[in-house]
Subunit: 172 residues, 2 copies
Amino acid sequence: MFYEPEQSMIKIRPFAEENWAATWRIIEPVFRAGETYAFGPDITEEEAHKVWVEVPSATFTAADEANNVLGTYFIKPNQPALGAHVCNCGYIVAENARSKGIASEMCKHSQREAVSRGFRAMQYNLVVSTNKVAVRLWKRHGFEVIGTLPKAFRHPQLGFVDAFVMYKQLVT
Amino acid sequence: MFYEPEQSMIKIRPFAEENWAATWRIIEPVFRAGETYAFGPDITEEEAHKVWVEVPSATFTAADEANNVLGTYFIKPNQPALGAHVCNCGYIVAENARSKGIASEMCKHSQREAVSRGFRAMQYNLVVSTNKVAVRLWKRHGFEVIGTLPKAFRHPQLGFVDAFVMYKQLVT
């Protein structure tokens, strides 16, 4: 067990448009930094809304008791029809709310959500190898590194770095 | 070396709309069979045109000397901006033109095309494990199985089967 002091205060709810401004405030600096997601650091707010809210099957926000949005994730099929039983998720936690177990809560929530939506597995396609916090977290939640993509991510500071494909079967 | 009797007769050219009917004739039975691509076996011609011609960066056809289209492939970035230096391709050879080296010719052509377009690696995301001819062929052309996705493909006859992520660095 690991200590998650504030997890009981976190409520995860389906995304509502009225929370877009707060959601964008969280995801914009992460996209701009370009260290963990492949989206262009110059992504526009409109494009970000598309990839985070419109394209996915569903998006969620994690908020504290005062309704401050501290995290968000999306879920979508990773492939078309004959691969659509495997989902893909993306998670972002606000910079000032890290290390409080919010990503863990969202990961667990997303796995329950995936099963209830009929998905049988979850796949992360491009986990940047230098994002050690994420790799450790996903492993703790039962994801395996099934392979390493050599130099598949262009890191703004580090250049071409490896990325991992991570996978977890939810229904066996 | 392996014997490719008719490869010298094959010309690979950029796709032209006038070849769509011939291209659809080749790819339709493969999509309908649902054994190798994740696209739904009930895909419409319009959807197929979108995924094979409109979404990709480029599409090519392989034709014999009499201009019969015998094969086709597409090339596109596999991820957005910071992963867009890795491309993805899909290849299909007409049922009556298999085992003549056409897939090999298209694979070699696509690697040259990828490099000339600035891609540094090529990734196949979902190579169905039961498609042994393809797996053998891609290995012969320098692709490695970097990982196995358990039960990631829903095969119409065999049920959930494993799929491979295959990868080749083109520029190191």
